[in-house]
Structures are given as C-alpha cells and as structure tokens.
C-alpha cells in the first residue's frame, strides 16, 4: 500500500476491484465504513456479487480477466471529458514528456516487437531528450508526441460499447462508475483503490495495476490522504518477506540480484544505479551502491572488505535473460532438474497454479524438507490422490514449528507498519521456532564444510555474530537488519562509534563503514530502541497517521510520495486533505519524501517521486516488458473467439510452458465456462493452518462451486448437489452452491457463464472436504513478474449426484 489501512477513512470514493475486502481483509471494512459515514461512495466491481458488493453504493459485474478494458474505458472517460487534475498531471507525472519517434502502437503490438523471441526492444519507447539529456516536456499537453496525447489516442479505442462487449458490464453501469470515480479528480476530493490477487493473478497482472496507477496519477490521487494505490496483501508478513527478498530477482531492500555478466561490484553499481541529468530529480536510487555495500557487510561482516568487493563474488549470480521464478521452479522440477527442495512455511501442492503439475514435480525430487505447524498436502504428497508411494523415491523431512504467539519477532503489514510480536505462550515439547531451525541447520551445514566441500567461502564467512550459543535471537537480527557502524565514522557532520546502530539510511556508506541487512528498515531498531514495539497513540495531524505506533518503512513515512499531496508552494492541494504542509521553512506533518523545499523554490527543490529517475509518476511506463501503456489481451484460456481490441488474442510476451501438464484450451466446448478462484473468511490461503481448527472448519467444511441459477438449470444441478469441475489440467469434486451472485453475461453475442471456487481445501484434511481449486488453474503468468494466471481459466461443470450425507 502506498497509504495504509486507517487512511481509507480519508477517501471520498473507494473502488474495490480485484479484491473482496469484506471477506478477505474484513477489518479493512471498518475504515471503509468510516469513510462512508462521512459521505464517501463505495464502488464494487467483481465477477461475483460478494459481501463487499453488498456494502457498496454501486456494484457492477465484469468477466474475469478484462480489467484493463474496464479501466481503459475509465481513462478514456477521464481524458476526453477533462476530468483530470491538470496541475498535478503536468508537474508530478510524465504526461507532459515527449516520446521519441520510434514509439508506435498498431493492432495490439507496440513497436520493437520481435516475433521470433516474443520480446520487445524497450529502447523503442524512450523519451526525447534535450541537449542536457533531460526529457523534453510540453506542459500544455498539446504536442502530438507527448505522453498525454499518445495516451488519449490509445484509450480513445476503449469506448463504452467496446468495453461492454469485452467485459460483459452494462454500458449504463460503466458510465455511472466512470462518472463517480472521475469526480475524485476535483482538487478537494481523493479516491482510492483496494485491490488484491483478483488483479495480479493474470497474464496482464502488472498492467492491471499500472492502469489504475495511471488513473490515480491523472486524477491527482497519489501521495494524498484517501488516495494511493493500495494492494491488500494476503499474508501477515508478505510485505516483510518481500522487503527481505525471499525472491529470485531481488536482494533485501529491492536490490536487483546480480547477473552473471556483472563480474565486479563496480560493474553491478554502474549497471544498476539509475542516472538522471535533471537537476530537479532526487533520483534516490543513486544511493544504491551504499545500500549494496552495507548489505554485503551484513552478510559477511569483517570478511567483507573493499579489497574483496565486500564478498560480491561469493554471492550466487543468475544468468542474464533467464528467470528462476515459481513457475520456472516447478517446470524444472517437473522435468526432473532438481534434487533437493525446501517448502518452508508454505504448501505449494495446493497454493501454486496447476497443482497436478506441482505434485508430480515433487515426486521427481531426491529429497524435500517441509517446515510447518500442521501436516499438509506438500509434506504428504507421496500418499495423495493418484500417487503410488512404492514408486516415489523422494525422501521427505517434516519439521514441526511454533505458532506466532510462541516466538518473538516483527511482521510488516500491508500498510508497511513493522509491528513487534512477543513470545507469549510457552511452546509445547517438540516443535521448534523457525529461527532456531535455521540456526541449527546452517551450523550443521557449516560444520560439514569444515573438512572439505565446494566453494566454502560464503558458508564459512557468513556473518554469525548475531547467534550466541546456537540460539536464534530476533533482537540481534533486527539490529543487523537496521545496521551498524562497522568502524568509528563521521557522516554528515556527526561522529559515530564502531558498533553503534545506524540512525537512518541517510547515514549509510558505500565504503564498508556501515552494515545494513536491509536499507529500507534502517531506522527500525536504533540506539533509541526497538521502533516496531512502540505503542504511543498520538495523532498530531488528526488524519490517522499514528506516527509513534510501531514503525513504518521508509523512515516512518506513513504515506508514500506525500510531497505530491501539496501544490507547488507546499500547501496541501486542499485544506481538508492535509497530511503535510511547508510552513516557515519546514515541513509539518508526515515524514516528507525528502526534506527539500516545495517546487516553487526552483533552486533547492526536488520533484516528489524521488524513487523515479525523472522524479515524476510514470503514466507512460517504458520499463515494463509488455509495453508502456496497458492494453487489453484475453487470458490464456478465454471464452471468446477473438480479442475485440486487436488481433493479438493474449499478451504477446506472456510465458507459456510446454509440458504435457500445461495443456490449455480456449473456446473449447469441453470447457465452456469461465472459472475463477477466491477465498472465504474462515480459511486462510490453502487452509493448512485453518482446516485443522475445529471452530473454523465447522463454519466452512468443504469445497463448493458457486454458480448462477441459469447455469445450474442448464446443467440440471440443484443447490447442494455434488458436481465435478474440470479443466484441461485437472478436476475437483465440489458441492454446488447455486446463487444469484453470479449472473450470465452477454459477451460478443455469446452467453458467458462464470463459476468460482475457494482454494482453501486439500485432500489431507478434512476427509471428503475436497481438494485444491488450483488443480484447475494454468501455469502461465505475467511476463514482468511471472505471477501465475489463477484468476481466469476455462472449466466444465457436471452433476455427479446428490450431496453426500
């Protein structure tokens, strides 16, 4: 979230699309309700009329996988009716930038496409620059090559009629929603978006989000209270685990994983540190070399020296142009290319797309380690449906761990608040804390390498001074993540002794004098103490920022890009939306995005979007692999013979995997219905933690497939009947739930039915509770992130018989 949960109350219009907050983030609705009490409008767009929809002022259905068409129509409405925030768009976004002559768009393809490699050459989308190397601008938006004009032209194709024919949403509903949301372009209004996996799990996942971010920028909603782009993250610490980068492509603090071609740290820094010629751009990432050196110091401590590039060469590198993502892991594993596998606190046999492929892949391993509180479909895959244990060679280790109230440490919520938890309950005999398991395992591995082994440097040199007597200490690691001065140092006129905790990332250095496990968390645990444990409930702005309650990254800034919440003179765009104001030479309110004076001070100011090299929000996004503007493409599997927007049916650069487990069909009479997946309040993710809890299981005991009355009639199914739901890749048995919450849609002259299934069940427990809905989903994904497309696929539904007693 660029903003945070409580801030939702400051909004005038809340769009909930691609999420079902009322059921999956129930407490968020407290703040939606408070906004509504003050007169805000709630809009819900969802293929299914959810409990969120029941609270909405306006609801409209759409077919899964058509969000860009829906929002492209909104952008068209905003631009062609002048509903955007002109001064904001001109000064704080790249809408005024002039795009170079090589940019073009024709029939669903941007310029620079190579059909052989199925890749774009992004250099075709570069901005035109002046003699100083700064992008040229036309603040009047009149130049036909400026982003604004190109964008207007691009989205003029998304007429209500075309959008309606793609999405299945009635034109009248589209009009009402466009008009209502576009009102937040008024200076004294802000609108917000609450989205989740309903937007991300698509072959156009990234562009779904970008489309909305562009709308938020054009309406002047970014950086402002009640605005922003707000991802409702689904796991208690998925924000923190992302920040600390348990991901192939980034190291802690979003430092890109070094590619093999970058053989030295200097090469890495030269390639990965963004540059700008614009004196008004802060280009904060210019500090990357400091964060990189500090990270390596936290990895290798005293053995990381300037002379050895701080151990840069000890760290594993990835090949240029190759991805090592989730989908790639299971594709390679399916092909037998891994020997060992850790599934630590995760149940991929149910959670990943195309579960049959995943489960078969696990059977190709030599060994696997699963760490969890309860038994689950991953740990016990070898005795699952269709498996013959006699033929499965995989050795499996299951390690039982502690629950969240039995151990101490911090987690980071969706609003980037890092909150401390205490070891409250005494653990039972047997299970161990995850941290202790990690310490014991690594100490054992290291001891095995004392005698011999391949390339022992990183194993022997891994910093370990935060472990005492083989015991995991969350405080010691929290301090390491914050970072230390590694020698007596003077920075910015202040002197620090060796061993002192670094007060904030502004003091980090690239010469090895500082360590910081994650620069974004530098300031979270300082000489003043553990910031995440704070519980002071002051609200000086009255806007719900609570700056002394816990701590939030970066540097306790509660709303990102908050200098865009003020005008060029540093005054809030409107008095009722004041979280930050420049008064008497200083900023009052939230921690500003840098302390520079407002834009009217042309000598000393910096532009507000400090993480972007040009200092402005990108309505034109030349960095994405699938185009600078979001464009509608159909999902891998879809019910329509053609994409009404172009002759490119699906995202031309989306990855499609080719094993026999990856079959997919569109417009195939065997799989005539759109399928989607979702969650229920009573279960969490694959249900591995909740299915074992009698209270929760009683309330949601088994898998169901939800369908419309019309579809049920078509298939002779009654509410409560057992059904088989099948796709090209798998099948599940589910109880029919026939409701008016799904309705057939008229799309391209066809009647399109959609059904939905929760994905929280699995064969291990409860017996006859049904299996994972991910047995149906496909393993393709977004080309930028490789998130699987689990929210739109094609299925069949057949009646099996009456419900079992």
């Amino acid at each position: 979230m660029t903003n945070h949960w409580i801030d939702i109350r400051n909004s005038d219009c809340i769009l909930i699309m691609g999420s079902n907050a009322a059921e999956n983030h129930p407490i968020s609705m407290k703040w939606v309700g408070k906004a509504k009490d003050k007169g805000a409008t709630l809009i819900s767009v969802d293929p299914r009329f959810t409990r969120t929809s029941s609270k909405a002022d306006i609801y409209a259905p759409e077919r899964s996988g058509t969000d860009i068409a829906f929002l492209g129509g909104m952008m068209n409405y905003i631009l062609s009716n002048n509903k955007f925030h002109k001064e904001y768009a001109a000064n704080y976004t790249n809408a005024s930038f002039i795009v170079g002559p090589k940019y073009a768009f024709k029939d669903g393809l941007f310029s620079g496409y190579d059909p052989k490699t199925k890749k774009y050459d992004k250099s075709f989308w570069a901005f035109e620059k002046d003699a100083n190397g700064v992008p040229k601008r036309d603040l009047t938006f009149k130049d036909p090559r400026c982003v604004f004009q190109l964008m207007k032209k691009h989205y003029s194709r998304y007429t209500p009629k075309t959008v309606s024919a793609i999405t299945g949403t009635a034109e009248a509903d589209l009009k009402k929603i466009y008009e209502t949301y576009a009102k937040t372009g008024a200076v004294d209004k802000t609108g917000t978006i609450m989205y989740a996996m309903g937007w991300t799990q698509h072959t156009v996942g990234v562009q779904n989000i970008r489309m909305m971010a562009m709308i938020q920028l054009m309406l002047g909603n970014m950086g402002r209270p009640g605005g922003g782009v707000n991802a409702l993250r689904g796991e208690s610490n998925v924000q923190g685990s992302t920040d600390h980068c348990l991901l192939f492509h980034i190291w802690p603090g979003y430092l890109g994983t070094p590619k093999a071609s970058l053989t030295t740290l200097a090469d890495y820094n030269a390639k990965n540190t963004p540059k700008t010629n614009d004196p008004l751009s802060a280009n904060w990432w210019q500090n990357k070399p400091k964060y990189m050196a500090s990270f390596l110091k936290s990895m290798f401590g005293e053995t990381a020296t300037k002379e050895n590039d701080f151990g840069y060469s000890w760290m594993p590198k990835i090949d240029d142009g190759k991805t090592y993502s989730w989908l790639d892991i299971f594709d390679e594993m399916y092909k037998g290319n891994f020997k060992g596998f850790f599934a630590w606190g995760q149940n991929p046999a149910c959670s990943g797309a195309n579960s049959n492929k995943t489960r078969k892949a696990l059977a190709k391993l030599d060994w696997m380690v699963n760490v969890n509180i309860f038994d689950n479909e991953t740990a016990s895959f070898w005795k699952g449906p269709g498996m013959n244990p006699d033929e499965i060679k995989t050795e499996v280790f299951f390690l039982p761990c502690l629950t969240s109230v039995e151990k101490e440490g911090s987690i980071t919520n969706s609003g980037r608040w890092m909150q401390w938890r205490y070891a409250a309950a005494k653990p039972p005999r047997g299970p161990k804390g995850d941290g202790d398991i990690m310490v014991e395992l690594f100490e054992k591995v290291r001891s095995l390498y004392e005698a011999d082994g391949k390339f022992t440097d990183p194993i022997k040199n891994l910093r370990w001074d935060y472990v005492k007597d083989g015991k995991y200490d969350p405080h010691a690691i929290a301090k390491l993540i914050n970072g230390y001065f590694e020698q007596d140092t003077t920075v910015k006129g202040k002197s620090f002794k060796k061993g002192t905790l670094v007060p904030s990332f502004a003091f980090l250095l690239d010469d090895g004098a500082t360590s910081s496990g994650n620069w974004l968390y530098c300031q979270s645990y300082t000489e003043k103490g553990n910031m995440a444990a704070r519980r002071e409930k002051k609200d000086p702005t009255g806007m719900g920022l609570y700056p002394e309650w816990s701590w939030c990254w970066p540097v306790n800034r509660r709303i990102l890009y908050n200098r865009a919440s003020v005008d060029l003179n540093g005054k809030p765009w409107s008095a009722n939306k004041n979280i930050l104001e420049y008064k008497d030479g200083k900023w009052i309110g939230d921690v500003p995005d840098g302390g520079w004076p407002p834009m009217s001070n042309k000598e000393k100011t910096k532009r507000p979007f400090i993480m972007k090299p040009d200092g402005v929000g990108s309505v034109f996004g030349p960095g994405r692999v699938d185009g600078p503007f979001p464009e509608h493409y159909e999902p891998l599997e879809c019910p329509v013979p053609k994409n009404l927007m172009s002759s490119q049916r699906m995202n031309p650069v989306a990855p499609v995997y080719g094993t026999e487990a990856d079959e997919h069909y569109s417009c195939d009479p065997r799989f005539p219905f759109v399928g989607t997946t979702y969650r229920v309040t009573e279960h969490w993710q694959t249900g591995v933690l909740t299915r074992w809890q009698p209270w929760l299981l009683e309330t949601q005991p088994q898998l169901f497939v939800e369908m419309s009355h019309e579809l049920a009639k078509l298939r002779g199914i009654k509410n409560g009947d057992m059904c088989k739901v099948s796709s090209a890749r798998g099948k599940v048995e589910a109880v029919a739930m026939v409701t008016g919450r799904f309705r057939p849609m008229a799309i391209q002259g066809l009647t399109v039915h959609e059904v939905g299934l929760p994905w929280c069940f699995g064969w291990v427990y409860p017996k006859d509770g049904g299996d994972s809905a991910n047995l149906l989903t496909s393993s393709t994904g977004d080309p930028n992130t490789r998130i699987p497309e689990t929210k739109a696929f094609m299925v069949n539904v057949e009646k099996l018989g009456k419900r079992r007693a």
Binding site: W5, H25, P26, I27, G234, S236, V238, G240, S241, D243, H244, L246, L247, A260, T263, M299, S313, W314, M315, K317, I318, Y324, W326, D328, I329, F341, G345, Q346, I373, F374, P389, F398, P400, T403, S404, E406, M418, Y422, A425, P428, D434, G435, L441, K444, V445, L448, F455, P458, I459, L462, I477, A478, I481, R535, W684, W692, P694, L696, T785, I787
Partner: protein
C-alpha cells in the same frame, strides 16, 4: 480524562477502585465484580499481531504463569482494529492449543508408505548431509559463457510470508550463502 479500556480494567481491579470510581464519577463495582470472575484476571498479558492477512490487527494474548495459553482477544487499544477481529483472528487460540499439531520431526523414506518419527538431531544431521551432497554435486562455479556464478541449481527453496522479518532475513542469508538462486515464496504467486 481519557482512559483506554485496559487502563480502565486495571483501575477497576485495584484496591483504589473506589477512589477511581469517584474520580470517574460513576460506579465501577459492576465492572469489578465481572472482572473478578474472569479466568484471565491473574493472567499474564502480551500483545501480538494477527498471523493471517496483512491488515495487521492487534491481539492480546493471555497466559497462565506456567505459560499455558488461556485466551486471545482483539486489542482495543490497537489503532487499526480497535478490538475487532474477523472469524480467523477471533479463533487464534485454536491454532496454538490444537491436538492436530505435529509435535516431532517426521521422516518418509524412499518408496515408503508411512511417516516415522525421528529425533531433531537426526533430522538436522540428515538434511545437512543432503544439502552438502547436492550442493557439491551440482555447484556451478562458471556458467556456459565462462562467467563466475558460484551457485547451486540442484536445490530450490520456497517460503515464507508466514515467517517473521528477522527469520526471513536469516533464511535468505543462509540460502544465498549456500549458493541457491531458485528462491521464491508466496509473494510471487
């Protein structure tokens, strides 16, 4: 005078309750007698954050002196949830006090159709040996282009967004030190 609910209960539970009641201008006795009957009266109290979705609701955990979990409830002082919880958060007690929890490490041998309980030391020893054996057999110092990569592609890792920040950092540290590049978790999917 502003009092949080917890301070209010604390006041009401002390000998000074009567005096407090006078300050407050109303009778606290009914609250006192209610609190006296609660099994959490002498319980130890700690705060935690809900382990399910990422709203980050505050929860109060009550334990006996022995450390036994007595109850969990929404933290009324927490600014996000103000004491409210969803069905999962409200039932948090049962994730911990649950006879379905696995207590000891389990091992499944190749081609076996059953789990066997093993000791922690044995499990850790065996896994460490597997790691070393696989790493040493699959370690790549240079790729096809001759570039230094120092990695093992024989082992993959997924998880976890359910871990604490400190555990996540440590886990990425040890996995990368061992040379893994196939490192992923819930955030990807």
């Amino acid at each position: 005078m502003a009092l949080t609910r917890r301070e209010f209960l604390k006041w009401s539970g002390t000998a000074g309750a009567a005096a407090a009641a006078m300050c407050l201008g109303f009778d606290l006795m009914p609250v006192k007698s209610y609190a006296a009957g609660l099994k959490i009266l002498k319980a130890k109290e700690a705060t935690t954050i809900c382990p399910y979705c990422a709203v980050g609701c505050g929860i109060i955990v009550h334990t006996k002196k022995s450390g036994k979990l007595l109850s969990t409830e929404g933290d009324p002082d927490h600014p996000i949830n103000e004491g409210a919880l969803c069905a999962k958060g409200a039932g948090l007690y049962q994730m911990t006090v649950n006879r379905n929890r696995k207590r000891f490490p389990l091992y499944r041998a190749p081609e076996s159709d059953e789990w066997e309980e093993i000791e922690w030391d044995e499990a850790i020893q065996k896994i460490a040996e597997k790691i070393k054996e696989t790493r040493d057999a699959t370690f790549t110092e240079k790729n096809d282009k001759g570039q230094v990569v120092n990695r093992t592609t024989g082992i993959a890792h997924v998880g976890s967004a359910a871990l604490d920040n400190e555990e996540c950092w440590l886990l990425q540290g040890i996995m990368r030190a061992m040379g893994l590049v196939y490192i992923e978790h819930q955030a990807r999917i």
